[in-house]
C-alpha cells in the first residue's frame, strides 16, 4: 500500500512537471509580445528594452526555462503582466470564487439529477423515462455559453427576477462587516449575519450555477439510472420483491444506497472537469473566477498568469484523481497488486 502511494505521488509530480514545461514552451509561441503588455501603450524603444531586461525576456529560452523551474519549486509564480499582482495572490483570490460556483452547481445537479434518475429507473420505458433520457442528451449537447445567454434573456430580460451578471452588486457591500473570512461569499455573509449581502450573493450565483449544472445533470441522471437498474437485478432486491414490497418502497428505504458509490465517483470526476470548464460561463456572467482570468490571460499573452493558471488546474485535476485512486485502493485491495 505504502509503495503504491509513493508511486502515485511521484507520478503526480512528474505530470505536473511535464504540463508546466509544455505550457512554458507553448506560451513562448503565442503571437503577442508580453513586454508591450507590461509597459503599456505607445512605449519608446528604450522603455521596451529596459522592461525586457527587467522581466528577463532577453535571455535565451533555456535560461528562462531553468530559472522558471527554480521558481516553481519555491512556489513563486511571478507577477501577472496584465494586473501587476503576484500570480499566486490572484489565483488564491479567484480560486475560492470559482470553487463556490462549482460547488453550488454540483449541489443543484445532484439534488435534481439523483431523484430523477431513480424515478427514471423505476418507470423504465415509460413516457417519463423517455423524457428524462432526452433531458440527459440535451444536458450533454447544450453549448453552455448559449444556455447562459438564454437564461439571462429569460430571467433578466423578460422576467426581471435575477441580476444579469457579477458576483454581487457593489452597493450591497456598504455597511457590512464580515466577521468570517473563508473567501466563500455565501458562507462568510451567512455566518456574519449580513443577510442583504447573503441574499444578493445568492441571487447572483443562481444563473451561472444553473448554467453549469445542466451538463453534469445529464451525467448524474444517466449514472443513477443505470446503477439503479443494475441494483434492481440483484438477488436482495428480488427477495424484497417476493416479500411483497413495492419497487419504490425498496428504493426509498434501502436500495438507493447501492447507487451512491458510482454516483459519487462520477461527481468527483466531474468536479475536476467543471473546475477546468468554467471559462465560458465565467466570461458570460462576468464572474471573477479562474476561468475568466485564464481567458483574459491567454488573449493578452500574459505568460506568468497562463502558466500559473494551468498549473493550478492541473494540480486540482491530478489531486482529485489521486484521491479517487487511493480511495479505490483502500476499498478494493486487488487494484495495487
Amino acid at each position: 500500500m505504502f509503495r503504491y502511494f509513493i508511486n502515485r505521488l511521484v507520478l503526480m509530480v512528474l505530470i505536473m512537471l511535464i504540463v508546466s514545461s509544455v505550457t512554458f514552451f507553448i506560451v513562448r509561441w503565442l503571437p503577442g509580445d508580453p513586454v508591450s503588455l507590461w509597459v503599456g501603450d505607445h512605449p519608446t524603444k528604450d522603455q521596451l528594452d529596459v522592461a525586457r531586461e527587467n522581466l528577463g525576456f532577453n535571455k535565451p529560452v533555456y535560461k528562462q526555462y531553468l530559472s522558471f523551474l527554480k521558481n516553481i519549486f519555491t512556489l513563486d509564480l511571478g507577477i501577472s503582466l496584465r494586473t501587476r499582482q503576484p500570480v499566486m495572490l490572484e489565483l488564491s483570490n479567484r480560486f475560492s470564487s470559482t470553487f463556490e460556483l462549482v460547488l453550488f452547481s454540483m449541489l443543484i445537479a445532484f439534488l435534481i439529477g439523483f431523484p430523477m434518475g431513480l424515478i427514471s429507473a423505476l418507470k423504465i420505458n415509460t413516457l417519463y423515462d423517455y423524457f428524462i433520457r432526452g433531458l440527459g442528451y440535451i444536458g450533454l449537447s447544450l453549448p453552455v455559453f448559449w444556455l447562459g445567454m438564454i437564461l439571462q434573456l429569460i430571467f433578466f430580460g423578460v422576467l426581471h427576477w435575477l441580476p444579469l451578471q457579477g458576483r454581487y452588486a457593489g452597493f450591497s457591500f456598504l455597511d457590512t462587516q464580515l466577521t468570517f473570512n473563508s473567501g466563500f461569499l455565501l458562507i462568510d455573509s451567512f455566518f456574519s449575519g449580513e443577510w442583504s449581502l447573503f441574499f444578493d450573493g445568492l441571487q447572483h450565483i443562481i444563473l451561472p450555477a444553473l448554467t453549469m449544472s445542466l451538463g453534469v445533470l445529464g451525467v448524474v441522471l444517466r449514472t443513477t439510472r443505470s446503477a439503479m437498474m443494475d441494483t434492481m437485478n440483484e438477488p436482495f432486491f428480488k427477495t424484497y420483491r417476493s416479500y411483497g414490497f413495492k419497487n419504490g418502497e425498496i428504493i426509498r428505504k434501502s436500495a438507493y444506497k447501492n447507487t451512491l458509490v458510482p454516483v459519487s465517483t462520477v461527481i468527483g470526476l466531474s468536479f475536476g472537469l467543471m473546475l477546468g470548464g468554467t471559462f465560458l460561463v465565467e466570461s458570460i456572467f462576468d464572474w471573477p473566477g479562474l476561468g475568466q482570468f485564464s481567458v483574459l490571460s491567454i488573449l493578452t499573452s500574459d505568460f506568468p498568469a497562463i502558466i500559473g493558471v494551468t498549473l493550478l488546474y492541473t494540480a486540482t485535476y491530478v489531486i482529485i484523481n489521486f484521491l479517487i485512486d487511493i480511495f479505490y485502493a483502500l476499498v478494493d485491495p486487488r487494484i495495487h497488486q
Binding site: Y137, L140, P143, W146, M149, L273, L280, T314
Partner: protein, 292 residues
C-alpha cells in the same frame, strides 16, 4: 482482398440496417444529412446568398422573425436563417476534421504501443497521460491562440488535445486481440507486428473507434463553438455558430433571435452525434452478446 472488402461492405449493411431500426438514431442521421445538404446548397436556395460572404444591409438590420426572414435579421441586416444554415457547413467540417486527425494520429500510435515491448508501451502511455492531464479547453485554446485565430487552427488545436483518447482505445483493443489464441498462433508461424495489426487488430477495432469518433464529433462542434465564442476561432466574415452568437452579445437581450437559432442548431447537431454514437455502442454490444 476483394472478398474481404465485399464482406466488410456486407457486414456494414447489416449493421446499418440494425442501427437504423432505432428511430432516434435514424432521426439523428436524417438531421445531419439534411444539414449537410442544405449547408452546401444554401447559396443556391436562399435569396440572401450574398449574406454568407459578409454583405451589409442597414435598411433591414435587427428585424424580428417575419415571413421574408424566417429567423429574423442580425445587426448587419444579414438573414439569420441563411447564415445559420451555412455555418453548419463549417461546424461539420470541424467535426470531421477533428475526428479524422485524432484517429489518424492516435490509432497508429496506440496500436504500435499495444504490440510493442513493455518499456516502449510504458513510455508512450506516460506521454499520453501528460496530454490528458491538461484541463479540457485550456490546451485547445492555448494551441489555437499560439497558431493564430482561425477555424483550421481550431481543428488542429482540438485534434492535438484529443488524439490521446484514441491512443488509449487502440492500445487496449490491440492488447485484447493480440492475446487471443489465433493471433499467437499466427505470430508463432512468423507473422510480423505489421501483419498482425493489419489483418487482425485493425478490422476488429473499427467499431469501438467509430463509436468514440461519433460521440467526439458532437463534442468537437461544442468545443469549436466555445473557442469561436471567446474570439479565437472562426473570424468575420466567415460564419460559424459560436461566432454568430458572440457577435450578437451586445444586443441579445432585445434581439433574442440572433442568439437563439444558432444555439438550437448547435444543440441539435451535437445531440444527433451523441444519440447515433450511443445507439452505435448499443448495437455493437448486442452483436457481441449474440455472437458470444
Amino acid at each position: 482482398m476483394h472478398l474481404l472488402i465485399l464482406e466488410f461492405i456486407n457486414n456494414m449493411k447489416i449493421f446499418l440496417q440494425k442501427l437504423f431500426l432505432k428511430k432516434s438514431a435514424l432521426s439523428g442521421f436524417v438531421f445531419l444529412c439534411g444539414l449537410l445538404f442544405l449547408s452546401v446548397f444554401i447559396p443556391f436556395i436562399s435569396p440572401y446568398e450574398q449574406d454568407i460572404y459578409g454583405a451589409v444591409h442597414f435598411e433591414t438590420a435587427g428585424q424580428p422573425p417575419s415571413f421574408s426572414h424566417w429567423f429574423g435579421t442580425d445587426t448587419a441586416g444579414r438573414d439569420v436563417l441563411t447564415i445559420t444554415v451555412r455555418a453548419g457547413f463549417y461546424s461539420l467540417k470541424v467535426a470531421f476534421g477533428v475526428v479524422f486527425f485524432s484517429v489518424l494520429i492516435g490509432v497508429p500510435i496506440g496500436m504500435f504501443a499495444g504490440v510493442s515491448s513493455k518499456r516502449i508501451d510504458e513510455i508512450i502511455m506516460r506521454i499520453t497521460d501528460g496530454f490528458l492531464a491538461f484541463p479540457p479547453l485550456i490546451l485547445p485554446i492555448a494551441i489555437t491562440a499560439a497558431l493564430g485565430p482561425s477555424l483550421n487552427n481550431v481543428i488542429i488545436g482540438i485534434s492535438i488535445s484529443w488524439f490521446p483518447w484514441y491512443v488509449r482505445i487502440a492500445r487496449s483493443q490491440a492488447l485484447i486481440i493480440s492475446s487471443l489464441d489465433y493471433v499467437s498462433i499466427s505470430r508463432s508461424m512468423g507473422a510480423g507486428k505489421l501483419h498482425v495489426i493489419k489483418t487482425h487488430i485493425l478490422p476488429n477495432s473499427v467499431s469501438p473507434i467509430l463509436t468514440q469518433a461519433t460521440i467526439d464529433a458532437g463534442y468537437a462542434i461544442l468545443t469549436a463553438a466555445g473557442i469561436s465564442f471567446i474570439g479565437l476561432g472562426a473570424q468575420h466574415p466567415d460564419v460559424e455558430w459560436g461566432l454568430l452568437i458572440t457577435q450578437s452579445r451586445a444586443q441579445f437581450i432585445n434581439h433574442w433571435w440572433e442568439v437563439f437559432f444558432p444555439g438550437i442548431f448547435i444543440l441539435l447537431t451535437a445531440a444527433s452525434f451523441n444519440i447515433i454514437g450511443d445507439e452505435l455502442r448499443n448495437t455493437t454490444n448486442e452483436k457481441m452478446l449474440n455472437s458470444g
